[in-house]
């Protein structure tokens, strides 16, 4: 049985009913608060805190002096040196082996082994890295690759999420994501397992 309705008609009735119910009863509030920055904790060494937090959520952190060292370090990781399909969005650090130019359907990225992405900034309080969706030709690249590496400048650190959002401002790209560590689950008896649906491990390279 297919319900006979047009989405337009259904929408307006529901919309009006909800908005009517929401105006039925005036509710008072003290208004929106402003965050008092002096009450927020900042860190003496945000980079050290960021590194500590990222490691605590399962990320591996490498300090590099120049971008080409990233490939050197990655080559020592077996799952990288054996990888067939590497997508690199940071060509100055890693040379990719997978040509994105012919890909129009994100499903065709199913076999990608590694994605090397560019991080915009890191958040010291929780180890999260902001990735701007406009740097990704396909947003699924971050999630479909078996392994993920993020290249991030160590000068780009904020203390906490408030500073992070202040830095992002509005509006932002159609897509953006904070990534903190590799994908994980603890749904089976609270045992933490790295590598749920997204990347199995996360390598973060901190460049000058």
């Amino acid at each position: 049985m297919t319900p006979q309705l047009t989405s337009q008609a259904a929408d307006t009735t529901g919309r009006q009913a909800i908005l009517d119910r929401l105006t039925l009863r005036p509710v008072r509030s003290a208004g929106l608060p402003t965050v008092d920055a002096s009450k927020l904790t900042s860190f003496e060494e945000p980079l050290a805190k960021f590194t500590e937090m990222l490691q605590s959520v399962g990320g591996e952190v490498h300090l590099v002096d120049q971008p080409d060292q990233v490939t050197e370090i990655l080559n020592q990781i077996e799952v990288f040196s054996n990888a067939q399909r590497v997508v690199s969005l940071v060509p100055e650090a890693v040379k990719g082996s997978f040509d994105l130019s012919k890909i129009h359907d994100p499903h065709d990225l199913a076999a990608v082994d590694w994605t090397i992405a560019k991080g915009e900034f890191g958040v010291a309080e929780n180890g999260a890295i902001w990735i701007d969706g406009s740097t990704l030709p396909h947003r699924v690249l971050l999630f479909i690759a078996q392994y993920l590496a993020i290249v991030l400048s160590r000068r780009e650190m904020v203390h906490h999420m408030h500073e992070g959002y202040a830095r992002l401002g509005t509006p932002i790209s159609r897509f953006g994501v904070f990534v903190a560590g590799p994908s994980k689950t603890a749904d089976i008896e609270q045992s933490l397992v790295l590598g749920a649906h997204g990347c199995r491990a996360l390598q973060v390279f901190l460049t000058p």
Binding site: L22, S29, M53, G127, I172, A180, I188, E189
Partner: protein
């Protein structure tokens, strides 16, 4: 939606509490999560400040919800999303089905959403010939077992790894007897990857929607929402109307509180911000669902329950939840917050839930958005009394207690009777199947004299 009969929490909890292994094991598993939450909360010196900010933001949002919703709709539409409004669960399900039919969809991949659970979306779609795959590992486990989630953040927390192993052996062909979480997770990863690649439409929930930008945020650790929403051309996001925050910067407050309160992590692995459809070939549909929320907003006593960000901290800390299991609540949302929300939908059906509470107040202490949960549960008891929904034995005993406490002489006499009878009553007279209070306890030794007597002797 399945209409369940009136449930009595103690009766529904019986199989769980009387299992000598299960209840203490479950208690321990959740206490572990609660301890992780404590560690995180204490590592943020401004924790209490964040809680009061969050509470103020939510109060202001709920007060002006109509305005914020239309602001959100305007901005989301400008970004290219299609915003739908659903007055109730049925309308929500019809809207989703309509979108799926418009695209001739047969297979959808869904990430965790307590809202679609509340609306009974899965059985509705399945009845309409659509294959629904839940992609959160815990949700997939309970889906394969034809169960419902027993916790809003940890849907399969009631299951032992051996039980998951059996389920996977039956449905995914894993080795018989295998119970290693790593092995089982790997099997699920492979199985669900095929489902992701075959999915024609992705459905996700929404953790926060932002009025100011018209975008929304989805938080997961597994990355399932992102895979589900980034592969197909159509993304449907379903959200309760209370999930709104006014400003983009408000996200900072809530994201600092959410994962720390939920699982004791500093933040979830993925915090994805969606602003409009993926590209010009894609569609983004946002379904705003009321389903009783606007009615809850009208109640001065229970309005604050709309602050809830579904972190589950109140369940993890609740001594009753931990020992009775989520299924004993027979509600989409169990635990303290569920016991407040469920009676607002149907007070008669869920009348026993506000009594599944020891009024210890721990839920109120951990709630990141400061919902006065145990006060609300107490208020519900009064309300249920006023609605004449209390059972006969509770009504009579409350009347008697009231008489007793109002008369000093009667109280004193009753105390004497109590002390005297504790001395002389044989065990069989107090411990029998009609007296449920004495099933697991002995009666106390009677004191030699009353407090009143002692006071008169020593303090005058």
């Amino acid at each position: 939606m399945n209409m369940l009969p009136i449930v009595d929490h103690p009766a529904a909890a019986r199989p769980f509490v009387t299992n000598p292994d299960r209840a203490p094991w479950h208690d321990k598993a959740l206490w572990f999560v609660r301890s992780k939450r404590d560690k995180q909360a204490s590592s943020v010196p401004e924790w209490e400040y964040l809680r009061s900010l969050a509470s103020q933001i939510k109060t202001a949002t709920i007060a002006n919800l109509g305005d914020y919703l239309t602001e959100f709709e305007r901005n989301a539409t400008a970004l290219g999303a299609v915003v739908h409004w659903a007055a109730d669960a049925e309308e929500h399900n019809r809207i989703v089905l309509k979108i799926l039919r418009d695209h001739d969809t047969h297979r959808i991949v869904k990430s965790k959403s307590m809202l679609t659970e509340e609306c009974g979306l899965n059985p509705f779609l399945e009845a309409n010939g659509i294959d629904v795959v839940d992609t959160d590992l815990g949700e997939r486990i309970v889906q394969l077992r034809h169960e419902t989630p027993s916790h809003i953040v940890l849907p399969a927390i009631h299951l032992k790894k051996e039980e998951v192993g059996e389920t996977f052996h039956e449905h995914l062909g894993t080795d018989e007897g295998a119970a290693d979480p790593k092995y089982l997770t790997e099997a699920a990863r492979g199985h669900l990857r095929d489902k992701f690649l075959a999915g024609e439409v992705g459905i996700t929930g929404v953790n926060f929607a932002i009025a100011e930008t018209g975008g929304f945020v989805v938080c997961t650790n597994e990355g399932n929402a992102d895979l589900g929403a980034s592969l197909p051309n159509v993304h449907i996001a379903c959200m309760g109307i209370e999930k709104l925050v006014p400003r983009f910067e408000d996200l900072a407050v809530f994201l600092r509180l959410l994962a720390r309160s939920a699982t004791g992590q500093p933040i979830t692995t993925y915090t994805s911000h969606f602003h409009g459809p993926r590209d010009s070939h894609s569609e983004l549909h946002i379904v705003l669902v009321d389903n009783g929320r606007s009615r809850l907003r009208q109640s001065d006593a229970f309005r604050d329950a709309l602050h809830c960000i579904r972190c589950g901290a109140c369940m993890n800390t609740c001594p009753v939840y931990r020992r009775s299991g989520g299924h004993s609540y027979r509600a989409t949302i169990p635990g303290p917050i569920g016991s407040v929300l469920s009676p607002t939908r149907d007070s008669s059906k869920h009348k026993s839930l506000p009594f599944a509470c020891s009024l210890c107040g721990s839920c109120t202490d951990v709630c990141p958005v400061k919902i006065p949960l145990h006060h609300q549960l107490l208020a519900w008891r009064k309300e249920i009394g006023n609605l004449k929904l209390l059972s006969y034995d509770k009504r009579i005993s409350m009347k008697m207690a009231s008489l007793l406490f109002r008369s000093a002489r009667l109280f004193s006499f009753a105390g004497w009777v109590g002390r005297a009878s504790l001395k002389v009553l044989p065990h069989w007279a107090t411990h029998h199947r009609l007296n449920t209070w004495t099933i697991a306890r002995e009666l106390p030794e009677p004191p030699k004299e009353s407090f009143r007597h002692w006071y008169a002797k020593n303090r005058k």
